[in-house]
């Protein structure tokens, strides 16, 4: 027992470097986002008016405090563009996560049913595409979906359609891209819980006469709920802020919030509004982030 204690001290000392790093490069930057979201847009470099300068002392700090403005946030709630962006992001994330669950569950279940020595190989096969670039995988779909791409050629030669179908720049292409990119994130946690499940429970239920679907609903699915929750959060949170996939695959008439933020920042050079948009996006995600943090902690630190 005493060994543990002695070990703990150097381990804690080792935390200092990563702790400081994350404070400096993860937490402190949010302070800057908050600060700039409260300042005014200016045509300058950098394109915002300084809100306060600590070197000028307390009096200057006071006057600066009164100059803080919530204008950027007022703009966000009053302008339909932003409200629609947020709503669209949430709708897309909900729909895409639901599709991911429906597609990912049978695959994870299938892998969990494989003989144990095949399971790591199957999981490896699911994970390898995740290692290859996000951008490349989206680009691969553009190759297939474009006007004279493979899909249209196939449909034309099978005489299923008479003119090429427009696949790109549509919501269906975007959903396809999202589902394709996030599928491993859904399968991984689902498989982890399904593989740990005691098969005797399912067997007992079917021995007692339950039909397969009933076994699934009464035994398998309820027991896999922790995996479902982890998979859903692991997909939902990043999809809300997704930029690349809607930008390359969806049409340009309705934007997700990640795209709006990008546009404000890079095209309109309106850093304060982009910062305010980021703060609101973060607020939307606080609840799912807290739940995710709990789950992650329980999973990684439960064995302590």
């Amino acid at each position: 027992m005493s060994g543990r204690r002695i070990f703990a001290r150097p381990a804690r000392l080792g935390a200092i470097a990563p702790y400081l790093w994350m404070l400096l490069f993860f937490l402190v930057p949010f302070g800057f986002v908050l600060k700039i979201s409260l300042s005014q847009t200016a045509i300058a470099q950098p394109p915002y008016l300084p809100v306060f300068d600590l070197t000028q002392g307390a009096a200057a700090f006071k006057t600066a405090l009164t100059a803080l403005s919530l204008d950027n946030f007022r703009l966000l709630v009053s302008d339909n563009l932003y409200v629609f962006s947020y709503l669209r992001s949430l709708v897309v994330a909900v729909v895409a996560t639901a599709i991911l669950l429906v597609i990912g569950y049978p695959i994870a279940y299938g892998i969990a049913r494989l003989p144990p020595r095949w399971q790591p190989i199957a999981m490896m096969l699911v994970i390898v595409p995740f290692w290859t670039s996000f951008l490349i995988r989206i680009y691969a779909w553009i190759n297939i979906l474009q006007h004279d791409g493979l899909l249209n050629q196939m449909l034309l030669s099978l005489h299923l359609v008479s003119v090429p179908v427009v696949w790109l720049s549509s919501d269906s292409a975007m959903y396809l891209g999202i589902v394709y990119s996030y599928l491993p994130f859904m399968i991984l946690p689902l498989f982890a819980t399904l593989a740990k499940m005691e098969p005797a429970l399912e067997e007992a239920a079917s021995d007692l006469g339950a039909p397969p679907l009933k076994v699934f609903w009464l035994i398998t699915f309820p027991l896999s709920l922790p995996g479902v929750a982890a998979g859903v959060l692991l997909c939902f949170i990043p999809i809300v802020g997704e930029f690349v996939i809607p930008d390359l695959l969806a049409g340009s008439n309705s934007l997700m919030i990640g795209q709006t933020l990008w546009l404000e920042f890079f095209t309109n050079k309106d850093w304060p509004v982009a910062s305010a948009a980021a703060i609101v996006l973060l607020l939307l995600l606080v609840a799912p982030l807290v739940v995710y943090d709990r789950l992650q902690r329980a999973q990684l630190e439960g064995a302590r």
Partner: protein, 270 residues
Amino acid sequence: MNGPRGLSPFNVASLALGLAFLYLPIVILMIYSFNASRLVTVWGGWSLRWYQEFFQDRAMIEAGWMSLRVGATSATIATLLGTLAAVALSRGEGFKGRTLFSGMLYAPLVMPEVITGLSLLLLFVAVNAERGFWTVTIAHTTLTMCFVAVVVQSRLTSLDRSLEEAAMDLGCSPARAFLAVTLPLIAPAIAAGWMLAFTLSLDDLVIASFTTGPGSATLPIRIYSEVRLGVKPEINAICTLVIALISMVIVVASLATKLSGAQRETAAPL
């Protein structure tokens, strides 16, 4: 003890369809990178034409070199910091600010990249840092060290602690016990963490776009600006090269893991 569980036809079908869905687009992309014809509609025979074009594209080569340097540097720093963080979380017992620490490490895993990128850029602008190689490297380190921490921590959690305790009972100092017992056991997870960090850095578009400066574009930034203009066979070739590079890293690392004799205890890949 589990025995072979029954695979229903439904299980087999969902597995086969799922894997086909995951791999077909990538395979098609790779095949078309060897297409001699400029048009996707026409198969003009096998050719290395688009690879030659890539190797003559100075801007693209420079971006690729930049990405490799950023990836290797940030992955190395991230592996160091992430491993320290994982050891602290799984062996440090309770310490002040532990909740904040683990929260800061888990949040970036799911945090939308636009938020991480924007906030880091605002920091760099506020301190007047010159944007380029180092700002992108710092940004990538911040993101990827969290992935390293999770991979290493899950390995440490599943590790039998009585081994460390035995070493110390036999007279090892804590540092010695860590170096002689713990470190070799978590080495495969650390290697996997480095690979993950490297490929994530090589892959990232959004955070790099925010934190880079003029004249130092990474490969994804270049590819993205080309892709926005439409499909170009040269991009197929570059993507195939990137996939080949990443597969090589995976193969080499898993061979190294096997040689180290610890393959049975490899941590979960994520």
